[in-house]
Subunit: 214 residues, 4 copies
DNA sequence: AATGAATGAGGTTTCATTCAT
DNA sequence: AATGAATGAAACCTCATTCAT
C-alpha cells in the first residue's frame, strides 16, 4: 500500500514520509479516529520510529498542521503576480487556493476541519495561517479601493468585514468543491470572484444594502 | 451539574435529556472524544439506560444530528414571512440562522464541524439539511430575480452557484461569530447580506465580473 | 490460581481482592516490574475493572501502602498491653512486629523495599507509618528510663538515637528473617531485644562507649 | 552533562564510564525505571556501544553490583588496622563503611535497595558481599570475646546473631544517614557503636536479657 | 423504568535490543 | 572503535458495550 518499503533512509526523508502518511490519515479519519498504527503502516515504518522522530500524536498533528499551512500559504503567494492590478491578483490568488485545496484534499481537511475541532494547541496553529491569509486579502481589497479612487474611501472596518466574509466563503467553497464531483477549482474561484467583486464594487461606490428599520 | 436527578421519568422526556447531554458533549469534545460515560453522567442517568433508549453511540449521534438539523431548519423557516419581498425574506432568514447558531453553539458545532468530519453515516445526514437550506435560498434568489424583472433571466446554474456560496459563507460566518467575542448575530447577518445582495444585484443586472482571458 | 472466579461481587469485596493481588504482585516483582495485567489476573478480574475501582497503577500502589501500613501498625499496637512494664511492652511489640512481617512477607516487601525505592508519592506514605512506630518506641524507651530511675536522666537526643537504631535494626532483621530459612519471628525478636536492652541499660547507667580521640 | 564526549577511548576506560553512568542511573531510578537510553546518554556514548561492551541490561546491572560490592568491601578492609584491639577495629570499620556509603550514595542504593528488590541473579550477587562482611564482623566479635576472657565463652550462635543484627543495623542506618540531612558518617558510626558495644559487653559478661516466661 | 458489575478490543507510549555501516 | 536507523514486545490506560437484577 504505502510507499515502497525501502530501508535505512536518512532521517529527514523518513520524517517527510511519516508526515505524508499522517496528513492522509488525519485528513480522512480525523485526529482522534486516526491511529498511530495506521499512520506507521502507511508510512512503511514501525510505530516506535514514528515516536522517535515525531514524539507524540499531538506533536505529529501539530507538525502536519504547520507544514501544510506553510505549503498552502506559499502556493497562494506563488500564484499571484504583484505587478498586476488588484482584481487580477485576487483572481489569481483564489485560483491558486482552490487548485491547492483540490490537489491536497487531505491537507485541506486537516487544516480546515480537523485542526479546528480539536482544541487548543491546534486551533491557534491554524489561526495563525488564517490570519496571514486574511491580511493578504485585506491588502488586496484596500489596493483595489485605491485603484478605483473609491469615493468616499472605504472604511477599514468594512474592508475587514469583506475580507473575513471572502475568506470564509472560500474556505467553505473549498470543502464543497472537494466533496462535490464535477466542480473544478476554476469554477469555484469564478463563482466566488463574481460574488466578491460585486460586493466590493457596490461598497466602493457607496451603494451598500441597508437593513429595513429593525 | 446535569439535570436534577429525578427518577422514573417518562421515556420521551428522558430521551430528550440524554440528547441534550449528548449534543453538549459531542459539540464540545467531538464525536470520538466524547465518551458515553460523560454523556450518561451529564444526563443524570446510568449508561445502560442510554443504550436501552438510543441503541449505540452512532445512533445517538445520528439522532442528535437529525434533531438539531430539524430545529435549525424550523428556526429559519419560522423567521421568514413569505409575504415580504425577497430581500427582506433573505435578511430575516439570515438573522434567524445566526441567532439560532449563536444560541445553540454546541448544536451548531455538531452540525457543522463534528458531523462533517466523521464519515459516512453522518455526512449524508447533515447533507440533507443543507440541501434543504440551499433549496430554500435558491428559491429566494429566483424570486428576487423575477421581482427585479432581471433581463436576461439569471441562469439556473448561476443561481445555484450563488446559493452555494451564500450558504457556505453563512456557515463560515456562524463559526466565526461564535468563536469571536463581540460579534452579534445581527452584525454577522448584515455583513453577509451586504456582501450577498450586491453580488445578486450585479448578476441580475447582467454586470458579472469576467475573468481575464484564461 | 488466583481466587476462585466468582462473578458479581459487591464493590468493597472486589476491591479487597484486587489489593490482595496487588500486594502480592508488587511485593514479589517490585512496583515497576509488576504489571496491571498480572494483578488483574491474580485477582480474577479484568483489567478495566481494576482501573474502574482503583484508578491507576500509582493509586493502587498507594492504596496498598496505606492499607498495609495500617495493618502493621494495628498488629503492633494490638500486641502490647499498656499495663505491663516497659521492657515487656517492648518485647511484646517486637514479637508482634516480627510475627506480622513473617506472616505477610509481601506486605513487608511493599512497605520496606518497594515503597522506598520509587520516589515521592510513596516514600512519604511509608514515612508516616515509620514515624508513628518510632514515636511509639521512643515512648517506651522513655518510660523504661523513668521506671529505672535512670540517673542522670537520659537525654532526649539519646533516646531518639536509640529508637531510630532500634527501629532500623528491626526493619533490617525482618527482611533477613524473611529471606533466611529457619529464623523464627521469636528468635529475631529475642536477638534484637538482647541487643537493644543492653544498650539501653548501659546508657541509663551512664556507661556509654566513647570513641577514642579522633 | 555526562563525561566530556571524547572519541576513541580505550575499551577499559569506556567501560568504566558506562558503569559510572549506570550506577548513577540505577541508583536513582531503580533497575526497571532506568533506561539504557539514559545510561548511554549519560555515559556519552551510543547505545550499541553499551551493548557491545556490556551485553545486556541484566549483565550491566550485575557488573555494577560486583564492582560496587568490591569497592565497598575494600574500603572497609582498608579502614581497619588488624593490630588494634577489637573494639577499635570495629569502630574503624564502621566509620569506613558509613563514609563510603555516604560518599557513594548511588552505589549504596544499588547494593542495598535496587539489587535486593529484583530477584534472582542479583540477590545472590549482593548476598555474597554481605556474607563476607558478616564473616568479618563475626571474626571481630569473637576476637573481642577472647580479649575480654569472656566467661563462659560466647556461644557461636550468639555471635552469629549479634553479627547479623549489627550488620543489619548498619545497613539500615546507612540508608537513614543518606536520606537525612545533617547526619554525618561519624555520627551514624558512633550511634551504632554505642548500641552495639553495650550489647556485646553485656553478652560477654553473661548478662543477657531474658524473655519473660513465654 | 433503571442500574451496579463487568469486559473485549484497541489506543498511545516506552524499552531492550539488533542491523548495517 | 563507534553509530544512525530500525523494531518486536509489552506496558498503562480508555471506551463502547453487555449482563443480571
Amino acid at each position: 500500500m504505502g510507499a515502497v518499503k525501502s530501508k535505512r533512509m536518512p532521517r529527514a526523508v523518513r520524517e517527510q514520509q511519516m508526515m505524508d502518511a499522517a496528513v492522509r490519515t488525519f485528513g480522512q479519519r480525523g485526529y482522534r479516529a486516526a491511529s498511530m498504527d495506521e499512520i506507521a503502516e502507511l508510512a512503511g515504518v514501525s510505530k516506535p520510529l514514528v515516536y522517535l522522530y515525531l514524539n507524540s500524536k499531538e506533536d505529529l498533528f501539530s507538525a502536519c498542521i504547520r507544514r501544510e499551512a506553510q505549503s498552502l500559504l506559499e502556493a497562494v503567494r506563488a500564484g499571484v503576480d504583484p505587478e498586476l492590478p488588484a482584481d487580477a491578483q485576487l483572481w489569481a490568488g483564489l485560483r491558486a487556493f482552490f487548485v491547492h485545496t483540490a490537489e491536497n484534499p487531505d491537507a485541506w481537511s486537516v487544516l480546515h476541519r480537523q485542526a479546528r475541532s480539536h482544541g487548543e494547541p491546534f486551533v491557534s496553529e491554524v489561526g495563525c495561517m488564517r490570519d496571514e491569509i486574511v491580511a493578504f486579502v485585506t491588502g488586496l481589497i484596500g489596493a483595489a479601493a485605491r485603484e478605483a479612487h473609491s469615493d468616499p474611501a472605504l472604511a477599514d472596518r468594512d474592508v475587514a468585514g469583506l475580507a473575513q466574509a471572502l475568506v470564509g466563503a472560500a474556505e467553505s467553497l473549498a470543502g464543497w468543491a472537494n466533496d462535490t464531483p464535477d466542480v473544478s477549482a476554476r469554477e469555484a474561484a469564478a463563482t466566488l470572484m463574481n460574488f466578491a467583486w460585486a460586493g466590493l464594487e457596490n461598497l466602493m461606490h457607496a451603494r451598500p444594502w441597508t437593513p429595513p428599520a429593525a
